[in-house]
């Protein structure tokens, strides 16, 4: 990405006869016209926003977004000293540790399964993929009010009743044991598994069939061995991409926590199910403390960047066949 790029414009220029200076201006004008909207938009909504937010994080900015009341590292100190914030970091770490491997395994498993079907592949692919059309809000709504509702006629409670459990369980409200985790993890699982299954399915279909035939000739008959020795190593790049996306998305979880645990501005939010983004939402929009909110945004951003870099480090070892092919 870094070293090869300059070759292109140079090559383009050298193809032209020298001394066509007049031709430069139309090229510049076209370049400016085409890139300006994007550059200006990113400048205002990313660069200015992040720069301003960064400065604001060193200000006492309550009820104001103006700079001027500098307080050094106070916001960061207060934030990291607030048990509610550190607890939200623990919550999101736990959530990430749950949701990433579970989604990964389920989407890979479904991809393998769907790929084995002779008929009806498209039908089942659509079945698993279509929840991706549903918003987190609607998912949370169905999970909270029907699937895991605390009434005896909720789906989970009806099933529990069939299994001999007579008392209705308050899934969302259950803190000990923390059954609400089941609600939070399964809703995200339902919403995003299909998306990653599509990625794995495409990866699987790119694996040359000869590899499997050759392995069978060599005596590797069982499905498990074929998966271990061919499918899994050949899916390496897809797996890395999937884990990366899963981590980034999990860290920014907001919608389902907000809607299932009712963490809205009225302060009904539960401390045990608050994610960093919910904490920041309440800090910035509830308390109007934009300095602390900005500081928190940078802490969370740094965590995501560190996590993705770490993951890239892990995945960087021993690259295999996929990228050569």
């Amino acid at each position: 990405m870094t070293t090869t790029a300059p070759a292109r414009p140079a090559a383009g220029r050298s193809r032209r006869p020298s001394g066509r200076r007049a031709a430069r201006w139309p090229a510049w004008r076209a370049f400016l016209l085409l890139t300006l909207p994007m550059v200006a938009g990113l400048f205002v909504f990313k660069y200015v926003a992040i720069g301003w937010g960064f400065l604001l994080s060193f200000n006492d900015a309550r009820g104001t977004i103006a700079l001027g009341d500098w307080n050094g590292l106070d916001n960061y100190r207060r934030l990291l000293g607030d048990p509610a914030f550190t607890r939200s970091l623990v919550t999101i770490l736990l959530f990430t540790l749950f949701i990433v491997p579970v989604t990964f395994a389920l989407s890979l498993g479904l991809a393998v399964l769907v790929n084995r079907l002779r008929r009806g592949r498209a039908l089942f692919r659509t079945t698993f993929f279509i929840p991706a059309a549903v918003s987190y809000v609607v998912g949370a709504l169905v999970w909270k009010m029907s699937l895991f509702s605390g009434t005896p006629s909720g789906v989970a409670n009806s099933l529990a009743y069939l299994l001999g459990h007579d008392d209705a369980i308050g899934w969302v409200a259950a803190v000990d044991p923390p059954l609400y985790w089941i609600v939070l993890v399964t809703v995200r699982l339902w919403l995003q598994t299909g998306f990653y299954m599509i990625l794995f399915l495409a990866g699987i279909q790119q694996i040359p069939a000869q590899l499997y035939e050759a392995a069978r000739v060599d005596g590797a008959e069982s499905e498990g061995r074929l998966f271990r020795h061919i499918t899994w190593p050949m899916l390496r790049n897809t797996s890395v991409a999937v884990v990366l996306l899963l981590i980034i998305n999990a860290f920014q979880a907001f919608d389902e926590f907000y809607n299932i645990l009712a963490s809205n501005l009225s302060g009904l939010g539960r401390a045990d199910g608050r994610t960093p983004l919910i904490y920041l939402f309440q800090t910035a929009l509830g308390e109007q403390n934009y300095g602390a909110g900005s500081a928190g945004a940078f802490v969370v951003t740094m965590l995501i960047v560190v996590f993705t870099l770490l993951q890239g480090r892990f995945a960087g070892f021993g690259r295999t066949a996929e990228e050569e092919g």
């Binding site: 938009g41 990113l42 909504f45 926003a49 169905v142 005896p152 599509i198 009712a262 910035a284 909110g293």
Partner: protein
């Protein structure tokens, strides 16, 4: 061999049931009466189908669902083509117009991909708020129009665009803008459709940003309206589910009709992301 296939089908059906169950629940609950849905025993299907939920959902003045649907439709139909067009323009210029600024501009754009979007909603809110964007349509739309990632995809696409076609256009007297508008853009329909549909889905389903910026009921999107319904003290259940059903119908239809494009878009954005 036979038995293995049978096993695959059994397994895939066992998994398919929980994936379809929520859709069934949405439909069943939306068609039930308040009394039946609130009862303590399980009912597979409403005794008598009731559309009262839909009437209640649209008749609630505190949560203007129809207006929220209109807002979401407006935002998604403006954002999807516009954001894709902006990305395609920049992508073309970076791939095909050889000027010295090309490389710095490219890095200026892709550097923004390092920063996760949702985590920085407060800094973005600060800027949009200072520009007077709270409770405005532009505040809901404009900050979401700039996707560095889509620029990257379009740039990759235009780098592979056949040079002969462009040379032919140049012979016909087209300048850079003409080449883009007459040749490159019309020939990038597949990528345009894939990314445009994904963008539509993303904007329709967005929650955090509309929640932050559209605080007045007049600027609620459908997701914010549903969330408000959900978090009320006394929830009208059939109306809640009827509203949710209406909210997902456009996207489910889009998924069924345009799945090919969606899958292609997912592969582009997923693998390279």
């Amino acid at each position: 061999m036979r038995r293995r296939h049978l096993g695959s089908y059994v397994a895939v059906i066992v998994f398919a049931v929980p994936f379809l169950l929520p859709f069934y629940l949405l439909i069943r609950n939306a068609l039930m009466s308040k009394r039946e849905l609130g009862s303590l025993d399980w009912h597979w299907w409403p005794e008598t189908i009731s559309f009262q939920g839909f009437a209640d959902a649209f008749g609630n003045d505190a949560v203007p669902l129809a207006h929220a649907l209109w807002n979401s439709a407006l935002i998604a139909t403006i954002s999807a083509p516009l954001s894709t067009l902006l990305a395609s323009m920049a992508g073309y210029a970076l791939a095909r117009i050889p000027v010295a600024a090309s490389k710095p501009v490219f890095f200026f754009i892709i550097a923004t991909m390092m920063v996760p979007g949702a985590a920085t909603f407060i800094p973005t809110f600060v800027v949009v708020g200072s520009l007077g964007g709270v409770n405005t349509l532009w505040g809901l739309i404009v900050p979401g129009l700039f996707s560095a990632f889509a620029v990257l995809l379009f740039r990759g696409f235009y780098l592979r665009f056949p040079r002969e076609l462009e040379d032919a256009g140049r012979v016909d007297g087209l300048g850079h803008l003409g080449l883009y508008g007459r040749l490159a853009l019309p020939n990038s329909g597949a990528l345009f459709a894939s990314l445009g549909i994904l963008s539509f889905i993303e904007h329709w389903n967005a929650f955090l940003w509309p929640l932050v910026i559209g605080q007045d009921p007049e600027f609620w999107t459908v997701q914010v309206a549903l969330s408000t319904n959900l978090n009320q003290q006394a929830v009208n259940l059939p109306a809640l589910f009827a509203g949710a059903l209406v909210a997902i119908l456009p996207l489910v239809a889009l998924f069924l009709i345009a799945q090919r494009w969606i899958v292609r878009g997912v592969l582009l954005t997923g693998i390279k992301g």
